[in-house]
């Protein structure tokens, strides 16, 4: 059912997204005003500023937006699938698997794209291991999957610690940045962007079924949803979204856990609104966080994963407090 508050929320998020792109384009070591950004975007004579925009700022902003949107949507799905409000994109150990692979690549002296590819492959490997282990007979239950994932995460965590403690100092520095999530070298790439669009369309198609599924598997089956097929599809979509996100920017925390909750508290429970809202808010939130990351203590850049928590925690707590006051009234 379309309600006015849904429309208002979506329009506000669209506006926020546009503003976030402008903030993201204008912040960096060479600071540009909003007006300058807009005039430089369309300037007929290519100058240094335009070059900075097109070659550095815009690709990085897009990478931030794509990663944030992926993590937030993946979080929405995981929370419904596991019917657990504490679920996030990394809960099944995808981040652990990708981290082990990425850190190994760093240890072996690879850089750039090789680290991304290693992270992606590691994430896929982690997904296969979890699904393989959690399978009992023909189907798996949410609890079994969750337990397997949490235990696998602990295992990956141990390997990560081994890698960190046995590596040389200079590679440990890159490893820590990767683990906290960092967008300084990131490019979204065609493959990731295309997958984001496909996943978004797929999730919108199943959005009403997701509403039914969030009331429980049995209820969904009784209302004509093909539950096992839908669950498998959603697990795959969520896992690949997460794998793409970590391959772009490392394991950025907080976005996938908190953006869905923020939006639910703001009244977007219907997945037909929650999914596009998560797409927009996840993307803009990460762009803003990244703008802070590169300006707060410039010229030193902070890993964006630190900033997501520093901004996100107070914002989330304010919304939580506000909404619980409203419920009590």
């Amino acid at each position: 059912m379309i309600q006015r508050r849904h429309i208002v929320l979506l329009l506000s998020l669209l506006a926020l997204t546009l503003v976030s792109f402008l903030i993201s384009f204008s912040s960096g070591s060479a600071s540009l005003g909003f007006g300058e950004v807009i005039s430089q975007l369309f300037a007929p004579e290519p100058g240094l500023e335009q070059q900075i925009l097109y070659e550095l700022r815009i690709p990085r902003s897009i990478a931030a937006f794509v990663t944030g949107a992926m993590l937030a949507m993946s979080g929405v799905i995981m929370q419904v699938l596991l019917r657990n409000p504490l679920a996030d994109p990394y809960i099944l150990g995808i981040s652990g698997g990708s981290a082990v692979a990425a850190l190994s690549a760093i240890l072996l002296g690879f850089s750039g794209l090789w680290i991304s590819n290693a992270a992606f492959i590691g994430a896929l490997l982690a997904i296969f291991i979890v699904f393989g282990l959690a399978q009992s007979g023909r189907n798996w239950t949410a609890t079994r999957l969750l337990l397997t994932g949490v235990v696998m995460s602990a295992g990956w965590g141990a390997i990560i610690n081994v890698l960190l403690t046995t590596s040389a100092n200079n590679s440990v520095y890159s490893m820590l940045f990767w683990l906290m999530g960092d967008l300084s070298q990131s490019r979204a790439g065609i493959f990731n962007t295309a997958f984001l669009v496909i996943a978004f369309a797929l999730l919108m198609y199943y959005a009403r079924a997701l509403n039914v599924l969030s009331r429980g598997d049995m209820q969904a089956a009784a209302l004509g949803v093909n539950v096992s097929r839908l669950r498998l599809l959603l697990y795959l979509a969520s896992s690949v979204l997460t794998a793409c996100a970590v391959s772009i920017a490392g394991t950025i925390g907080f976005v996938g856990l908190v953006i869905p909750h923020m939006l639910r508290l703001l009244g977007a429970r219907d997945h037909r609104f929650l999914i596009p809202s998560a797409f927009l808010l996840g993307g803009s939130f990460l762009m803003i966080a990244d703008s802070f990351a590169r300006t707060v203590i410039a010229p030193t850049q902070l890993p964006v994963g630190v900033v997501t928590a520093i901004i996100g925690v107070p914002v989330f707590l304010i919304i939580l407090r506000h909404s619980s006051n409203r419920l009590r009234e």
Partner: protein, 264 residues
Amino acid sequence: MSNDLGKTAPLLETQSLSLSIAGRKICTELSLRVPAGQCLGILGQNGTGKTTLLHTLMNLRSPDSGDIILGDKPLKTWDPKSLAQQLGILFQNTHDIMPATVLETALIGRHPHLADWQWETKTDLALAQQALEEVGIAELANREIASLSGGERQRLAIATLLTQEPRLFLLDEPGNHLDIAFALRSLQLLRAHIERRQCALIMATHDINLAARYCEQILLLYGEGKFALGRCADVLTAQNLSRAYDCEIREFEIEKGRSVFFPA
């Protein structure tokens, strides 16, 4: 109450249905017919398989052998969406973890009636609001489900089922969490609904007197695959019930043709 069992075409029929769970038999060679406009009550001790039988009739699990026929074709051959337009179930327990309002929850019942990409229309909304009104929680429409009492949740589940508009209602312990008055009222409501729309109802319950009051037919499960099936007055006897519940149950006639049952 009519005596036309088996004369009109049944809405649901089972033919030699055998069912077991974890090696325990629930029913063997069960053949029942539920005609339109009628109620069937399923009674039996805890763990005799009332819920499992309901879930089987809902196509949520498969029987060991035998056939279930819904309308004019076997249950297995219905596609899930059309099936959900025919069959609706009230589950014994609802677990609500994800937040939603009362109205949003009731509207979930329209899912099988909507096409891909289609949004709920004004008609769907009106149906949900009417259902909430019928169960007496219309004023809670915008409340969070997390803030509801157990009884209000049960009423909401009944309203969701009414919004679904199935032809066959399957109820698992409809009286759960409801006070005596509301348990009666909701059964009256459903009873009137199925008579008006020529739907049918099957309910599993512990409340012998509720079943005696509203059902034409009773299926009494004895355990180990044995059962008694027939018209209410024939099956609900002190002797049968005492056997089923392994506890002495007495019959008291409170007015002509109407008895109540209590443990001795």
